[in-house]
Symmetry: C2
Subunit: 572 residues, 2 copies
């Protein structure tokens, strides 16, 4: 102990990682590998009754035994394996309360068009990616955003046909609410896409002659998705594992996967059975389909490993703001006559929430526009009835634009606002054009929602936004982009403190996943899911949150990620 | 207009202040002195429906006509007198929700012992101050804090007697809850201070022989106060005006004066009659005395000028933490056997709040310790009964240490937490010694109180703390001292955002004074009380809030303070 202290005092911080092993070798300390005692400059526990600590002990199963003062814990566990993290800060593992693991995996193994500034750059990336494909194999990609292009209008098949006359190309928009196909891809759809018909909850963009342009909104995207040949299981598992590895390396220990089919749940189950889930996956059944039916028939699902559960259903009120698919109470400010569209009708939402209520399933409904949100609140109020005051934890996903009078309704119904801070900083260049200066005041309104008493679960919506939760922390605190613009932040009245942002990505995200007894804070009895950070996130300026250095990510007391170039006594 | 814009675009910011006058001289703009149109880089209105604006128009009575976009307002008021503030930021005038104007005035004209580090320094300052006094005149001073001294124990008369054998000396502690007299001052008290008796709600410190040491706690201070010859009206008015001038120069446009006697109210009235109140004074009747009786008999008081009102009563549950006079549920952690004391008994508090309720008077009770706060909440709950849900706006002043289970009771009873952020940063070196690691979690707990749904009205408690509200903003946001220590802030989970801190010093302070229809935000119909700041308080880092430059302070559309060395088109 005193040796360790002296080492630290002498600034030999890097050594601290290896000192316990050295001491062991010298026989000075008899390690007890049943208990690990980790010490750090500061531990932000997120436990209100004991917010700051300097040491934490956990057992070999990854269960936290005690959190407190280093001297007291050293006395209590004299034989523990010691791990001194020097000047590092520990925080609970971050939980992304709304994301798409499969989508990220797919994005990581398909053509990445995020950040492309014009179609020339897109064609370059597509040609590079096509070199990895077999002849005739579909070229899949995503992440484009016409708002980033000089012309700012939707693209068409013709933009792709010259470069790819035969290979089907299918490219989803950055928000997943629109898709862009070339002619080869449209030919693969068996039904004629021409004419005047439209699918429910979607729209095929057509020219004056009634021919499809290659642009498909919301449910119309299914026509192309269903025409695509399926990917192999091996490829999909590879994509999932690639995505989870990326998530762990950025500090995530859990993800709420917002829309998982029964087949996808089985895939996660297989990975969990093989011990190949580095994160805790909280799956939401995708829509009013067979996964929800399975929850109703077989009960809420939880894998024995504690790494996978499904007890919620993801429903869809409307589309997205970027593609003007979000359902608005009045016309879009920049597109008169257009009020967006509902993806599920109010009647469908009512039926699905009634079913969820009956089966004890948590409802989590995508709602972006002020009409989408109002319809969802109306449906929730009706489905929950007097049980609104209970512990249902129903959620609105995004809760992006709300009419001022609807803001307090979330707290009134005990509905959780599941929001994505990076959406605000990504959308701020154009969001006010879409909704105008009055409605914008109820948009991305974290502070107003929190002040009204609603609980905020924070996430990223990756791959729509980047997986990195540090960007979400920074956006929540600064309301500014990576360049610090606009100075002082966009509608700075909506800023959160760093503590609140952290709470939204830890304790309140855990609560939104019915997991706060296990994770979300560092307290005796909970799981040892934690991050080792080089900087203290509550001590650095808000803009520095995006540059926090993740030294290691632990789940169940085991490292699932460790920064390279660092000796570690914790490697199993 | 375009000329102004070009001037700004060319970086000729300083010129902007004089340009309107130049244009006037050139006859290019016909000024309409009935309307002033002020434009700035940013106006933080604190109006949730329109948080940011670039222009504000107000009439010659100081009533805001419109807040909005500079081009729209310029069209609407083409004849208005223009005042372009260039890169400055406008915010609503700051309101200190808990302070003592008379106390500050007294402190400013008496010996200032704030920040003295030992008794040598105190004696130096006292000798300097004594030179301004007549022979035999009482030497009055205040601001000492034994916690800042090497020995950290209460002082005694003997410390003063050698330097001042004949001149009475009476020095109040920094928190006003203890006083230090020399022997000459004690001789002026007619009753013998020796023996075993103690006054109600106070304590005379005595040595083993039963002789008074010179140290008087809480109500025992009255023995000395009453022995002092009264100050002249001229001196007191001079003190008040000195204090208000200081307050305006730091950005205050309003002060809630926490404890005003009927005589003091009449003094403020006389100043208001003469147009000599530069600030809005919201007086609280001092205790269950004649001022409360007057409110009950004659109704709530409001001066026709709108600058003075009295509709609240200040009550006193307990003492202060520094002098261990705060009433605690358990022993002080650093003084076993001591649980502090109640200043008014629960029965007295109950009688006073019942009277306040009967007369429609707002109760505002000083409560520091967890017992003081609990007794206050119990008494409030009983007095308010079913009306707790109504618009009573009863307040707890300080709400400094609360038992965790009492924190949500403020929101439940709709009681306002009137807190002083600088108390936390002043007390943090020793507060945890007083109450220990468990109770400290419920101390200075702004964030927990706000999250529980309570409204926060912020203030300084000047002259206990410095009058400067920028220090309060900085403390609320950083929970750190001027040196940035502790790094990351003391219990950083309790931090507020800059917007919330500003709201506590504007809109929510106005609400706590039943004045939100008149002040607290910049909206059409309200008064033009505002600050011109060189920096944007929502754009600078938290620690920079203490260095915001106040360029001017306006009340009713007229400057009550302007920084020197700056040309101004606004001077009347």
């Amino acid at each position: 102990m005193s040796t360790l202290r002296n080492a630290r005092g002498m600034g030999m911080r890097k050594l601290a990682w290896v000192v316990p092993a050295m001491l062991l070798a010298a026989g000075q300390v008899i390690a007890d590998d049943r208990v690990t005692l980790v010490t750090a400059a500061r531990i932000h526990t997120m436990d209100v009754a004991k917010p700051v600590a300097s040491a934490m002990a956990y057992d070999k199963d990854g269960r936290i035994l005690a959190v407190g003062d280093v001297d007291a814990l050293a006395k209590r566990y004299p034989q523990a394996r010691r791990q001194d993290l020097g000047k590092a800060t520990l925080v609970p593992g971050l939980i992304d309360a709304h994301a798409h693991v499969g989508g990220l995996g797919l994005a990581m193994i398909t053509a990445d068009l995020v950040g492309t500034r014009d179609k020339v750059e897109i064609l370059q990336r597509l040609r590079t990616h096509a070199k990895t494909l077999k002849p005739g194999e579909w070229l899949i990609g995503g992440g484009w955003d016409q708002n980033d292009w000089p012309e700012k209008v939707f693209p068409s098949a013709a933009d792709l046909d010259a470069a790819f006359p035969d290979r089907p190309v299918w490219l989803s928009r950055v928000d997943g609410h629109a898709g862009w196909a070339n002619s080869a891809a449209m030919r693969a759809v068996r039904r004629s896409l021409a004419g005047a018909w439209q699918p429910d909850g979607g729209r095929i963009d057509r020219d004056a002659a009634g021919e499809p342009t290659g642009l498909f909104i919301d449910n119309a995207m299914l026509l192309l998705e269903q025409a695509r040949p399926p990917m192999s299981e091996t490829t999909i598992e590879h994509a999932l594992r690639t995505a989870m590895r990326a998530a762990a390396s950025q500090g995530l220990t859990g993800v709420h996967d917002a829309g998982v089919s029964l087949a996808e749940l089985r895939r996660f189950q297989r990975l969990a059975d093989r011990g190949q889930l580095p994160l805790r996956i909280t799956a939401m059944a995708d829509g009013d389909g067979e996964a929800l039916e399975s929850l109703c028939r077989n009960g809420l699902y939880r894998h024995a490993s504690g790494r996978l559960q499904m007890r919620a259903v993801k429903l869809y009120a409307d589309g997205a703001l970027g593609s003007r698919g979000a359902a608005m109470l009045e016309d879009y400010s920049d597109d008169h006559g257009n009020r967006g569209l509902m993806v599920m009708s109010p009647a469908q939402l009512a039926a699905a929430t009634a079913k969820a209520k009956r089966c004890g399933v948590q409802a989590a409904t995508h709602a972006i526009g002020d009409r989408g949100n109002r319809e969802t609140l109306d449906v929730y109020a009706k489905a929950l009835g007097a049980d609104a005051a209970g512990d249902h934890r129903w959620r609105i996903e995004h809760a992006q634009v709300l009419a001022p009078q609807d803001l307090p309704r979330l707290a009134g119904l005990h509905v959780i606002a599941s929001m994505q801070p990076t959406h605000a900083t990504s959308d701020m260049p154009w969001a006010q054009d879409r909704v105008g200066p009055e409605r914008i005041v109820g948009a991305y309104a974290w502070r107003q929602l929190r002040d009204s008493g609603a609980r905020l679960a924070l996430g990223s919506d990756f791959p729509v936004e980047r997986v990195d939760p540090r960007l979400g922390l920074a956006s929540a605190v600064t309301r500014a982009d990576a360049d610090g613009l606009p100075v002082g932040g966009w509608y700075p009245n909506e800023k959160l403190t760093a503590y609140e942002a952290l709470r939204g990505f830890t304790l309140d995200a855990a609560h939104a996943g019915f997991a706060e007894a296990e994770v979300g804070s560092l307290q005796a009895g909970k799981r040892a899911d934690f991050l080792v950070l080089a900087e203290d996130p509550l001590a650095v300026p808000g803009e520095a949150l995006r540059a926090l250095r993740v030294l290691a990510t632990y789940v169940d007391g085991e490292p699932v990620y460790e920064a390279t170039g660092k000796a570690s006594a914790a490697a199993p």
